[in-house]
Symmetry: none
Subunit: 205 residues, 4 copies
């Protein structure tokens, strides 16, 4: 087995072990056992226990960055938004184990790692906010606190993906994408007054 392949084997083994036991309960021995290598071998490929986790997470981040398209306001905006939602959903659900790691196990780690994840989310939030602000100028996003919109969007996506990656019988992706899109477009509460005040949504913070 060549180095590239063995590295992959170790990465996948680590991903699966982390996904099932969480980072802290996962022992380097578990990873090695699953990868069928001796413990020393692990350290030929990764400098320490955290290194695999970082590589896994970095890979996911990179895939997301690649998948998202910058929205071109001159063209079909709704379609592009749906495309992006679909892309993000796809990246995560293509690797449910990794998703579970990122969304439920990555917290509670050493400050350095939490910071890394935190800055990833901060980046996403920033992207989202500026996209939303642009949308507001174009009139396709409601007036209101773009920061708040970014937060709720992030929360929604996290939760929905976490559930989808955890569930035994996941929903068809297209349904997930569609639901997200519709929900963002109109919420779910339907009580007379609300729509009327839609544009007086206060600017938070």
């Amino acid at each position: 087995m060549d180095k590239k392949a063995r590295r992959q084997v170790l990465l996948q083994a680590a991903r699966d072990v982390f996904a099932s036991k969480g980072y802290h309960d996962a022992k380097v021995d578990d990873i090695c056992a699953l990868a069928n290598v001796a413990k020393g071998t692990y350290y030929l490929y990764f400098k320490d226990k955290r290194a695999v986790l970082e590589e896994l997470v970095d890979g996911l981040f990179a895939r997301i960055a690649t998948a998202i398209l910058r929205v071109d306001v001159a063209r079909d905006v709704a379609g592009q938004i749906q495309h992006n939602i679909r892309a993000i959903v796809a990246v995560f659900l293509d690797d449910p184990a990794l998703t579970r790691i990122l969304l439920s196990y990555a917290a509670g780690l050493d400050p350095a790692f939490v910071k890394k994840i935190g800055s990833f989310y901060a980046g996403v939030r920033t992207l989202l906010r500026s996209a939303l602000e642009e949308g507001q100028k174009m009139g396709i996003v409601a007036e209101g606190d773009a920061d708040f919109f970014a937060s709720v969007s992030l929360g929604i996506v996290k939760e929905v993906l976490l559930e989808a990656s955890t569930s035994e019988r996941p929903r068809p992706r297209e349904e997930i994408v569609d639901s997200l899109f519709r929900f963002l477009a109109s919420g779910y509460l339907r009580m007379g007054g609300a729509p009327a005040v839609r544009d007086r949504q206060p600017k938070l913070k």
Copy 2:
């Protein structure tokens, strides 16, 4: 100092230590140091390290359960929903440290604990779903997958509260409550077609 008081001191010390270092990096020694008791004393009050965390989390759960009012469809529904949102927000933000523990550090723990938290969320989701289904019958909640609505609501609340509990200068609670309410009522995307299909939202799952 009587038993009751000492127990409280330990609980608060644990909460603060967990909030600042996370569960794994928090040592029983740290808790004892902050509580000004000897290490042995800790074990007179809690059977092991996880016990304090469980008690803290259980307390939070109980407070939430107490705070939420069953919606009475015969009276002002919107007001009651706002009341519930406000109550949940209040419980969490009254104890930001504990909120941070639950929302960012509680993950990554042993399966047993993750399960406990998982079942809490499942309970919340069930409550939400039945409330939403009832709302649908009453016509105040859009047609569509109530389960999905429950998920997104949960995600939104988690994210917004996490942010509020982490932020240096938190927003006024009333603004948070208001924003959540309005968002649930109408989303933020505003593009012609969407509202029209509002009621044909597919039943997911």
Copy 3:
């Protein structure tokens, strides 16, 4: 057993283990076994493996510093020199195991430790040199490179003590002191020419 006593037990155990196996081959487990404590106990008293060694060596250094008297040129100089030689010999031979550690095992350790020992010897050499220079002014030390004299003195003492601490049947201390004193006073080579050039000993740089 109180903390003070246990600390002593650990120190002596460490000293003996280091003396018999050398620092590297000595395992913390060996020390604990000899001291009859569990491994964790060791770390209650010393922060890591090197800490005991440092404490042992520091103790020896301190005892030497205490034992040496500053030579008062107005009084019996030869007597005072003999006293100092005797004191140094006594400190080392009172603890042969520690002597062996310092003289044969302390080398070859991490740079930090080697540096510590190096600076101790440098200090001794400096003391010796200034004492010798003073002696030269008083006419009781031969003309010549005081630095060189300091070096040879150090070398002599190290070797004689190493041997004395290693030997099965050590020589009476008073003999050692006496021999050192006499040797320093007249070397051992006896060939006509040498004494004549005694005072033209070149100044080594």
Copy 4:
């Protein structure tokens, strides 16, 4: 590159690595890196890590043995002694790195190795003692404990060479040789009584 040459490359690489980091901190990898060979290659030339060190030290011992001339009492004794001192100084200072290894890093190794070095020194001491005893019969060495004279000589040489091999700007060898010779001839203490008792030096041990 033929076997002989590669062996030399490895020996020199090992010598340099040992000299700069000490035996324990030197990794076989370091040696291979410096020698530009793969790790497996090392083991084609040496059976284990200690083997190179032993070969290096054995080489040095052999060179010393070769360099020293048996003193012929019928001819210029002083000259022959100076010659021997000069030869020893030369062997060590021609390879300062190796000198440093032998004098400061070789200690602290496994008992087996310490024993090897110990027996080398014992051999030197024996040689020295018999030479000194012969010298005493000839009247060119002071009466007294020849064993003690051998020890101090050894200590002096070790220390002076260690310093010379460590120093940035080493002294001219001839000066070193000269100083040693003169010192052995007359020590450095000059206080009236000493010379008078020269011949009553007690027999130690």
